[in-house]
Symmetry: C2
Subunit: 325 residues, 2 copies
């Protein structure tokens, strides 16, 4: 299929075309990257926007159950929901997200939902790049909500927050000590903190944990992009479906307010600019490995430096001169 035909099929809502388009943007091949550029440009013509919700939670917190229940709630209201994953460990574990997909059994059979596992690439920067492009494709395909989920490992939360309109942190009920386990930097990125498993024996603990987080959130400096009362901590039960309506109401209220105040568009503009700059840096550094002659020269000079026959600064300026030619 030609790129323009593929773009038309994506915009027309063809799910198989969307899956193929995402596979294309995930490819690192030079000709695929060029086609992906054309595809993204053609898809941008749709002018459609989804609400991008980032969702982070460590393994065991009930992330899959939450997405299954929350996604089904949204599709039940007639909304179309795409779920994308950013899993920095997927290259190693060989597809923990496939497991997620089978655990989201109901949502994966829902005609209004689209679930896509994490691209299996070793480098987090590469995963981030592909996911940003996959989000753009899902928007062109007419999805109303794009959920971008990640495990709370290393820098993946920062990356997901950097491509989301709303960032949600899913937490397990736990003693007061656990509060310190969530890094301050992550807390500061969150718009909503959801304490899951507020059911059965854990209900009281969940309520206490939620109060602890609410207290901690009040201590953070107020951000201009927040109306009164945000960021907010809530309890939910994914398995019993408790509190999910409230979560959607809060997300809607927050995004409506941000749209009205101009924060929503400003935030997206800033993210787009960051994305552009990251692409430029990535493309520039890719030259070091793309050209076999440069690669060979890097190896030769690297060996000279290692053996003390050249200083790092001199060897580096030799390579930079070679790149200029």
């Amino acid at each position: 299929m030609q790129t323009q035909d593929l773009a038309r099929a994506v915009i027309g809502g063809d799910r198989r075309a969307l899956a193929r388009a995402i596979t294309l943007v995930e490819s690192g091949r030079e000709d695929h990257r060029r086609a992906a550029g054309d595809l993204l440009e053609a898809c941008a013509q749709s002018g459609r926007q989804a609400l991008r919700i980032g969702l982070s939670g460590t393994p065991g917190v009930g992330k899959s159950s939450f997405i299954e229940a929350f996604g089904t709630l949204l599709t039940g209201q007639g909304l179309r929901v795409a779920v994308l994953a950013v899993d920095p460990s997927s290259a190693r574990s060989g597809g923990s997200i496939l497991g997620d997909k089978t655990r989201m059994e109901r949502l994966s059979r829902d005609p209004r939902a689209f679930i896509r596992p994490s691209p299996s690439q070793a480098e987090l920067g590469g995963v981030a790049r592909r996911t940003r492009e996959a989000v753009a494709l899902c928007e062109a395909a007419g999805f109303d909500v794009v959920l971008i989920e990640t495990v709370g490992v290393g820098q993946s939360e920062t990356l997901v927050a950097g491509m989301s309109d709303i960032f949600v942190l899913l937490i397990a009920p736990a003693g007061g000590d656990e509060l310190q386990g969530v890094k301050r930097g992550i807390m500061e990125m969150a718009d909503l903190i959801l304490v899951n498993k507020a059911d059965g024996d854990l209900k009281d603990t969940a309520i206490r944990t939620c109060a602890d987080y609410a207290g901690a959130l009040r201590l953070l400096r107020k951000r201009p992009q927040d109306p009164e009362g945000f960021p907010k901590a809530l309890t939910v039960s994914a398995t019993e479906g408790q509190g999910l309506d409230r979560v959607w109401d809060e997300i809607t209220a927050l995004s409506d307010w941000r749209r009205a105040q101009g924060h929503f568009a400003a935030h997206r503009a800033e993210q787009a600019r960051d994305w552009f700059e990251a692409e430029v840096r990535h493309g520039l550094l890719a030259r070091l490995t793309a050209d076999p002659a440069i690669r060979a020269e890097m190896d030769r000079l690297g060996a000279a430096v290692a053996e003390g026959r050249a200083t790092p600064a001199r060897a580096a300026s030799d390579i930079l001169a070679a790149l200029r030619r």
Copy 2:
């Protein structure tokens, strides 16, 4: 002074020339960078090597007192000691290391010692680069030991470990909980963990803390570059001068073993190669800001992307094409 004269003066052991040479490598000016490259190349001809000891410790742990006492012990044995600092906060705080220098009153007046505050640059990568070059200059100037100290903040420990032969972690005596405060990644970089303040009321606590760390170190996977018994935890008292001889004995034993086994040279070769690659990446990215025409084009395309008139991928490939010309 011409670069070659400056190099000769540095190699000749002229302290003022060394200070000037470090100021030169700290400069970001294009012509200074070129002169610094020549200077480093000329200084590399000396073929001298110092023992590079990285030292990390959070504020309040007694780092300055330790350096003062340990440095004085070494100069007392006839060794020449240079102290360099990597302080990621110095740009903001406006020179906490100057304070350090006045707190190391005895060492700073010692003719066999040379103390240099952290370069005040906002960007940690820039500080790392300059410090690596300052280490090379101190080696050319004939120092036997170069101590590179840093506060345990963010990535600065990793950077310092990446330019040291031996990495020492200075710790305060504390309860068992404190053990968890030291990140596993930092523990894995340490060759020696020193529990300071093993004097007065804190002595027993220091001994217990040391035993805790010794136990934790035994749980880490054995590294090929360690002889039996390393990494090691010891108690010291900087103010009473207790345990400092032992620290120097352990450092000497460890570096002798590594030299004999070839690990020492292999580690340096690997660090030099990393340094070279970092220089290349830095130089490549510097092109984005060096050329006013490219800067203007980045701004123009960044605005287009922010306003949705261009996709990030397309705008990035436009910039990359402009850089190729």
